[in-house]
């Protein structure tokens, strides 16, 4: 942490080196920006005026204590929040400059550009492994061949192909927990989204499965912008380029992960990451 590089005439000063700079964006799409986002459950003001950007080609983690609004905020990005009775959202959610909350936008189409993986793996029990992966594709009228190709690609992309290639016709629920979650990731990837939202994707998994998925996230970030909600700070530290800390519905601090975990600006962030509360 204290490498001394003698270059200037002044006594040296140096910030902790950020070893993980976000890669220059290889893709021009997949940039998400929240502007003044508010979310409500009836009269409960769960997200309070959050403005935050998610860079394409990078992983952003959202951390914060239970009930801070991080899951709610993320569910506003793919407009799943409004599915709940009495829930509503205000503000702007921009995907490559387009406001997803514009009245002309088709909600269903939003969700094909912004995919989601949930806390508990939820493959469809009545479908085979392969049908699960292609379930999102069937409705776009893709041809059989195209579905086969994209399904296979998605399984490869999720690091699952080798493990399931001999039992594609078997039930989706017949896989282990970690495999099921990767199946859900493949299913989400198959529709080729620009953004992938992950809501505590590893909470229900054992440590080995968790690490496999973290590695997968590292590989996937080049093709999809990834936003991961996690209550596991070490996980955020391991996978994310940028980390945002939320408290009571507000965005307290956002910055390079290295900085947030070695020298955060806000005292509340410091208290939370060192475990003084939460």
């Amino acid at each position: 942490m204290s490498q001394v590089a003698k270059q200037s005439e002044q006594p040296l000063r140096m910030d902790p080196v950020s070893s993980r700079q976000p890669q220059p964006s290889l893709r021009e799409i997949g940039n998400v920006e929240l502007r003044g986002l508010h979310a409500y459950y009836g009269s409960n003001h769960a997200v309070r005026g959050v403005s935050l950007g998610f860079d394409s080609g990078a992983v952003t983690a959202i951390i914060g204590p239970s009930g801070c609004g991080k899951s709610t905020m993320v569910r506003c990005i793919n407009r799943m929040h409004e599915e709940i009775l009495g829930a509503r959202a205000e503000g702007e959610v921009l995907l490559d400059g387009i406001d997803l909350y514009d009245s002309r936008i088709d909600v269903v189409a939003v969700r094909r550009s912004v995919g989601m993986v949930f806390q508990k793996p939820n493959p469809f029990p009545t479908m085979s492994v392969f049908d699960n992966v292609t379930s999102g594709l069937r409705l776009t009228g893709a041809s059989r061949g195209e579905m086969d190709d994209r399904g296979r690609e998605a399984l490869v992309g999720a690091g699952l192909w080798e493990e399931v290639k001999d039992r594609l016709k078997g039930p989706g629920t017949g896989l282990s927990g970690g495999q099921q979650q990767r199946l859900c990731i493949a299913r989400a990837l198959a529709v080729d989204p620009e953004v992938l939202l992950m809501d505590e994707p590893c909470s229900a998994l054992d440590p080995v499965a968790t690490l496999k998925i973290e590695e997968l996230i590292g590989e996937l970030k080049e093709r999809v912008t990834i936003v991961i909600v996690t209550h596991n700070m070490q996980q955020a530290a391991r996978v994310a380029d940028t980390t945002a800390f939320m408290l009571n519905g507000e965005l307290v601090e956002v910055g390079a992960t290295d900085k947030l975990f070695t020298n955060p600006d806000d005292d509340r962030t410091e208290q939370y990451v060192t475990g003084k509360f939460g």
Partner: protein, 228 residues
């Protein structure tokens, strides 16, 4: 924000900090005895200091090991992480300081049991030693209080020691042609140099204070960039 969570961890961290900084007290005591041994050419006292250095080394090992364990088991971040990093550096400084005292004490039989060849040089060295003890005390207080200003002031205090060291050097040059005297002067210079190194270590501890507080590592003063 309730401090109820992680109390055991916090207590352990506090204990290790106290223990690590306690090493500075051991060093200060060792330095005092070293100065006495130099003043009175007391060989027995010098040997005591050398033997006692084991305590300082033991302290280093024990606290070092516990800090590593804490790193492995508690995943410290932010200020806690910087504190642990700083303590690891401080421990090293403490250990080095202890070794310098030992170096001085090992020289004492060599400089013979006759009365010192130059009273002034001896006085200078004793003054350096006292000033350095002040430095050590200030470094400890600066760390405990996370006082960056006090830590930066260590540079000024250390300058005094450095100037005295230069004085010693000048005196040694003018000591004359007597071979025994010259040998004695050389040995004294080595002692002075060791004390000066102890002072530098104290300044290093001050830099660690700044790191813990600001998250930035800045060399207050480096050998290659003299402030004067």
């Amino acid at each position: 924000m309730s401090p109820e969570t992680r109390t055991q961890y916090q207590e352990e961290l506090d204990r290790l900090e106290a223990s690590g900084l306690g090493g500075l007290d051991l060093v200060s005591a060792a330095l005092q005895r070293t100065l006495e041994a130099v003043e009175h050419q007391d060989v027995e006292l010098a040997q005591l200091v050398v033997a006692d250095d084991d305590r300082i080394d033991g302290r280093y090992l024990e606290v070092h090991q516990s800090l590593i364990t804490l790193l492995a088991t508690q995943s410290p971040v932010a200020t806690d992480l910087r504190l642990i990093s700083a303590l690891l550096h401080v421990l090293k400084n403490v250990e080095r300081m202890g070794d310098q005292c030992v170096n001085i004490c090992k020289m004492i039989p060599l400089s013979g049991n006759e009365p010192p060849a130059d009273e002034e040089m001896v006085r200078l060295i004793l003054t350096m030693g006292r000033q350095t003890r002040t430095l050590i005390g200030q470094a400890k207080r600066a760390f405990e209080g996370r006082d960056v200003e006090m830590a930066q002031d260590l540079v000024r205090q250390d300058d005094v020691v450095d100037n005295l060291n230069r004085e010693c050097f000048r005196l040694a040059l003018e000591i004359g042609d007597d071979a025994d005297k010259r040998e004695w002067a050389m040995t004294m210079l080595l002692a002075a140099r060791a004390i000066e190194r102890i002072g530098d270590n104290a300044v290093d501890i001050g830099e660690q204070v700044a790191f813990v507080v600001t998250g930035l590592f800045r060399e207050f003063e480096d050998a290659s960039h003299p402030s004067a």
